[in-house]
Symmetry: C3
Subunit: 132 residues, 3 copies
């Protein structure tokens, strides 16, 4: 198992971690299988979406902020229930396909750590699984 | 493949199944790899979030209930379209990291079965995959 | 790694791809493990839900259309920010359980490619992982 560190600058922020994931897969020498990524946090998650135009990540951040605003009345008293809800919506993990020794993503796809209660330093676990 | 049974008490309820998952991994003796969990239901899902304060799970239940209320006008006539929508939002499965013979979760993370059309007895499939 | 092609007819459409997935698993002869599915697109995803009554898939399409309407003010200027947001909500991938040489789904569960910016021809990657 490997661990990636991700530093975030804002309370809500999608951070592109694709290059780091690709480096770890190359270093491990996995030819075919899957790469499991896991956000070890309850107020951050992982998603894959377009990275070419940064406006897409910002639109996703904005949509989530408006769907689950921080100011609403929640039961949890730490002021970050919205962050927990957003993490549940994007999800805590991803299982990515590896083939030919490389991460297989679509042309416009990039892997993002989703920060919903930053800024912080976050940990993403990485586990490689061989194909059958 | 292993199967966990989960009994739910309310129509909408996040049930902490972490200990059961940990027991199965220990019993199987997997040292490193992944644990795939799968909700075999279309009105229930799986998520990971904070378990220390039960108010967080309740806030997630409440947010989903308000985002997809049961009373709205839907096409499906069984009265549980909201349950199907909630299951799609949290997702039907999780792939968890196992390392050092143990489930690798963040400090505050717990695994929850998400009931959206209970109370019922539910099945969660568990499959272990070895690391490369 | 295998690739499925999915043709979609509408801008937003859940397409049942279960039979195709089952055929690939049977052809590969995997007895026990997992089947990773991956949508190679940023405006389409994958989910599992009820397939018996097509109204359920339509209710999910409608709910997403009303939660993230195309007409809203977004930053991304290609007119499909709503499609990217919907893809983030349902998620880009699934890890399905295989046991006894067969895909293990609940009685009412079917696998859907979720089109959010069609009609188009889409690619779903499929990778098989053996159990431990």
């Amino acid at each position: 198992m490997d661990t990636l560190e991700v530093s975030t600058d804002r309370r809500e922020q999608l951070v592109d971690i694709t290059s780091d994931v690709e480096l770890r897969i190359a270093a491990a020498g996995l030819s075919a299988g899957a790469c499991v990524l896991w956000s070890a946090h309850t107020t951050g998650g992982l998603t894959v979406n377009e990275g070419a135009d940064p406006a897409v990540a910002k639109d996703i951040e904005d949509w989530l902020a408006s769907a689950a605003p921080p100011g609403r009345q929640y039961r949890h008293l730490e002021g970050n229930s919205d962050s927990h809800i957003k993490a549940a919506l994007v999800g805590p993990g991803l299982t990515l396909v590896v083939s030919g020794g490389r991460l297989q993503l679509g042309r416009w796809q990039r892997v993002f750590f989703c920060e919903f209660d930053g800024p912080r330093t976050r940990r993403v676990l990485l586990q490689l699984l061989p194909a059958g």
